[in-house]
């Protein structure tokens, strides 16, 4: 059984893309998983086929002649040296013991030295690998966060664009004639069922009175309460309102003067009204 991780390493190996710790780990896996060498051989024999996708181009004819002319002579088998007259040297153990010990020491030192350097370089490669993985993860996180922010903005922009396209605006005119300069504008968002009322130069009311906004929808017998408000000394007010009941076909906004706190059904005089 070959898992995806080893398939991946085998594929990278086929393109000579493995290095350091990855290569060491893969070579180790090669010796322990009997199915892996076959996959490696298959992939290493498949990869060169990609070379055949290169557009076929013919080299200059001179190249053939140049190569054929530069072929080196086939190296002859190394000549067997003539056997010299054998001279028998008596073996003296004491003479060789010191040299043998030194040679063994040198071999052992070389072995452990090479192991040390191999382990050191492998550790270094592993650290680099870990660092790369960490950077990659961090980069991915940042990318996801950036995409999330971007998506949120796009959604907000879309919502905003949708809201603006659906907004309805009504200018309310003075009905009583006692404040002809009064200006009242209602901006209504039918999707959100809310709006903003801005008034200027409305007369300041007595302390026991409030202005009350009414939303007229033919679906209801009586205008729907949009809330109460007061104006400042200059007759200014800007209030966000939401009708008590859901309205689907608003035709008119009206402002009446009512007793403090408002009333469920308009009783006082209508001071301003306007339609879309």
């Amino acid at each position: 059984m070959i898992d995806e991780r080893h398939e991946e390493l085998a594929s990278l190996h086929a393109f000579d893309l493995l290095e350091g710790a990855e290569l060491a780990a893969f070579e180790s896996a090669l010796s322990t998983n009997p199915e892996l060498p076959k996959l490696v051989e298959d992939l290493r024999n498949t990869a060169p086929a990609i070379g055949l996708t290169a557009p076929l181009v013919t080299p200059r004819p001179e190249l053939r002649a140049r190569i054929l002319a530069s072929l080196p002579a086939r190296a002859a088998s190394p000549a067997t040296p003539a056997k010299a007259e054998a001279t028998i040297i008596p073996f003296r153990l004491a003479l060789w013991t010191g040299w043998a010990a030194a040679a063994c020491f040198a071999l052992v030192s070389a072995y452990f030295g090479s192991r040390y350097f191999a382990a050191t370089s492998e550790t270094l490669a592993l650290r680099q690998d870990i660092e790369l993985t960490r950077i990659e993860a961090q980069s991915s996180r940042q990318q996801i966060e950036a995409e999330r922010i971007l998506a949120t903005r796009q959604i907000a922009d879309l919502e905003k664009a949708g809201d603006i396209a659906n907004l309805k605006i009504a200018r309310l005119a003075d009905l009583l004639g006692n404040s002809p300069q009064a200006v009242a504008v209602a901006v209504w968002n039918p999707l959100k069922q809310e709006g903003v009322l801005t008034v200027e130069k409305l007369p300041v009311l007595q302390n026991d009175q409030d202005y009350q906004l009414w939303v007229v929808d033919p679906a209801y017998t009586n205008p729907v309460n949009g809330g109460v408000f007061t104006v400042d000394a200059k007759g200014l007010a800007r209030v966000q309102f939401r009708p008590d009941q859901s309205v689907s076909a608003v035709t008119t906004f009206a402002i009446s003067r009512e007793r403090k706190g408002g009333v469920p059904k308009a009783e006082g005089p209508i001071v301003a009204a306007g339609t879309f």
Partner: protein, 213 residues
């Protein structure tokens, strides 16, 4: 290149107009025989191998290096290597052509990496930018040339069957002379994604081309 039983439905596409597995095996045996003769010092066999392999090997070197003179140098070195290493060739481990392409790719990539103007040339090595035109062979009707063209067509069809992402990843892995990280940077994808694309692409190629390499 080794053979393997049909394992994928997508093989049908690769088999259109491509050499049959039996033809492929026969041609591979003939190439192996030429290499055996070359190992024995047969210069005529070497000339035959040159005539068969020079176009694909030169094309691979040119695709990697984008420089005709350097590509010729590489092909020169590779054929001298084939002459010297012919005794080492093991026909049971793959085809002579695949072995030769691998030698060419390795040398071309070594050259690419050692170039002073490396960064500029890597820009030119983008998979979609071939930068040169395919030209017709001198002996278009020779059986060897025809066989090569059919085989190349089968591989191109198999490559086309990969998704665009997989194709870009495996082509860059083969021709680009880049590290894993450089491939990921070039494709502007996370490293893990690139590794997965190379894995899926190469496994699919193996299945599609089974018995045809």
């Amino acid at each position: 290149m080794p053979t393997q039983g049909p394992t994928s439905a997508c093989m049908s596409r690769a088999s259109e107009d491509s050499p049959s597995p039996a033809d492929v095996q026969a041609q591979n045996r003939a190439d192996a025989e030429l290499l055996r003769k070359i190992a024995g010092g047969d210069r005529d066999a070497f000339a035959q191998i040159y005539d068969r392999f020079s176009r694909p090997l030169y094309s691979v070197a040119l695709r990697i290096l984008h420089d005709a003179n350097e590509a010729e140098d590489i092909v020169h070195d590779v054929f001298i290597s084939l002459w010297n290493k012919a005794p080492d060739f093991e026909p049971t481990r793959g085809s002579a052509l695949g072995w030769s392409i691998t030698l060419t790719r390795n040398r071309a990539i070594d050259r690419l990496r050692s170039r002073r103007r490396r960064s500029e040339l890597l820009e030119q090595a983008a998979p979609a930018d071939l930068g040169y035109e395919e030209n017709p062979p001198d002996s278009a009707t020779s059986p060897g040339e025809l066989w090569l063209k059919e085989k190349a067509s089968a591989v191109r069809r198999a490559i086309t069957d990969l998704s665009a992402d997989q194709r870009a990843a495996v082509e860059l892995a083969f021709f680009g002379g880049l590290t894993q990280q450089e491939i990921a940077a070039r494709l502007q994808q996370p490293l893990g994604t690139v590794k997965a694309r190379i894995r899926r692409g190469l496994l699919k190629l193996r299945d599609t081309l089974a018995g045809r390499l």
